[in-house]
């Protein structure tokens, strides 16, 4: 039973949860309160968010394509794990099969690239 291997991870989860709880509960009591414009910005989230329709608007459908790309390549990557781990046992057969799999998904990639699915605007 390999569950014991996960005890350190569980420990880390507990630690992270404790830290988050601690920060959130203690911050209002000990932190200084100086409000300014910078405090209203999204905190450490990189670039400025794209202009969003406020209330009732819709997001452009291109987000959907991005999400689909993500999910498809996510699934492809997942299959690489078991393949890579047992690569030695599978030999050339497994290599060819995986090439075929990646090749097929790569056809989709080429298609999307040529159709402009990777351009943002």
């Amino acid at each position: 039973m390999s569950l014991s291997a996960y005890v350190p991870i569980l420990g880390l989860f507990a630690l992270a949860a404790a830290f988050a709880l601690f920060s959130v509960t203690v911050a209002p009591f000990v932190g200084p309160r100086r409000y300014n414009r910078a405090k209203l910005e999204a905190y450490e989230c990189g670039i400025e968010p794209t202009p969003q329709p406020i209330g009732g608007g819709r997001f452009p459908v291109k987000f959907y394509l991005t999400a689909m790309l993500f999910i498809v390549f996510d699934i492809e990557i997942i299959f690489l794990y078991p393949w890579a781990v047992s690569f030695d046992a599978l030999g050339a057969f497994g290599f060819v099969e995986m090439l075929l799999f990646i090749g097929t998904v790569f056809v989709a990639y080429t298609y999307i690239w040529r159709r402009g699915g990777l351009d943002w605007d």
Binding site: D88, A89, G91, T110, R114
Partner: protein, 509 residues
Amino acid sequence: MSDLQLPHINYAALAPMLILFGAACAGILIEAFVPRERRYPVQLGLSLAGVVAAGVAVITQAGTRTITAGGAIAVDGPTVFLQGAILALGLVALLFVGERSLEAGGPFVAQAALIAGSEPDRRQVVRPGATEVYPLMLFAIGGMELFVAANDLLTMFVALEVFSLPLYLMCALARRRRLLSQEAALKYFLLGSYSSGFFLFGIALIYGFAGRVDFAGIHAAALGSDRSNALLYGGLALLSIGLLFKAAAAPFHVWTPDVYQGAPTPVTGFMAACTKVAAFGALLRVLYVAFDRVSWDYRPVLGVVAILTMLVGAVFAVTQTDLKRLLAYSSIANAGYLLVGVLAMSKDGLSSSMFYLVAYGFTVLAAFGTLTLVRDADGEANHLSRWAGLGRRSPVFAAAFTFLLLAFAGIPLTSGFTSKFAVFAAALDDGQTWLVVAGVITSMVLAFPYLRVVVMMWLSEPAESTPTVSIPGVLTSTGLAIGVAATLVLGLVPAPLLDLSTKAAEFVR
């Protein structure tokens, strides 16, 4: 770990699927690299060639009885027969899909998700349609080929998804009445994925029972397993729900009229013909190969489903005023007749069901093909009242459609009669009299809506607004000719195909 047993793969047995999927991938690369104006002829040629080549590959497999690709594929008589049927019907469907002379740009639009009625959506109605439908058709046909050959439930599930997904998409691409088309696609997708969930849960229960998912393993476990039989019955019930949904049997038929009506008419024909073959092919294999030992337990249940399906299809067909919906309910009723053949659980039942699938497929393809011809300014005129007096305006066309309707009604000298006769005879031989009685009664009810259309076409005066019958292009003419000819030939001389289906009617386990 170097003693890994690699699966033996018989590439000749896989060739039809490999050809179709390969052609589909090539089609997608064509989409990527060939200029837009030139795509249509290239895609059409490629997909027709792909289907024909796959057909040749299927024919070379005649007589093969083998299980290959790690037990995932069974190639036997029914596989070859049904694969050939799907390819022949798919080829005719491709002809209708490829027709571009009836409407500028073909029956499809380029982009499905534009808001119906919005400015860009109205603009795309006059633009050339998406040529992606050809690779999507090939994906669907390839998935169906795999579906009827699958020898374990996992392969079957993947194949189910492979042929369903392109169908969901193509439903959304109708050039006219966009909102209806989008509604059809969404409905089909949501209900289809829901039924896939049932199918998957059924697999899980059966795995819990048998510890395997291949059909031979399930067959062996049904003899006696240390698990409770509730798992077996529950699993079979959920599995059947998934398959009966695709076959459009009541009470899982609710999507059928809306989807058949909203989808582009060539795609509707494709669904009515090929999806039915695939769904019943898989149902036959599941019931005959994996679960034959418990057939006494599920036959009454499926018998009730069959009667309900026939009743619902026949009764609701009477009330329809839209021809596509009428044919949709007729397709539901036909699923019921097919179930009667399936439930005979004999060699005759198997062969007559397979014959029925082919005969019905050609007739229904031709029927939906004729629907694409009757047009006015807004596209196809499918409302029943609009067809009044068409017989006086275009006698040849109306005569052909009348013949197809008579075939649906099961009048002698048409394939509809021979195929119904075959399944009912098989069921009678097996003592399923109650099913046959229900089948005959509902056939008589169902004849009424067909004859009403016939009467309307020939005996009414053409009104001012009666739509015109377009001159079909080469592709549609060929498709219609094949469909009508098959309906006639299978009615007059059914023996060769019946012999073929009888010879093929033996599963490998």
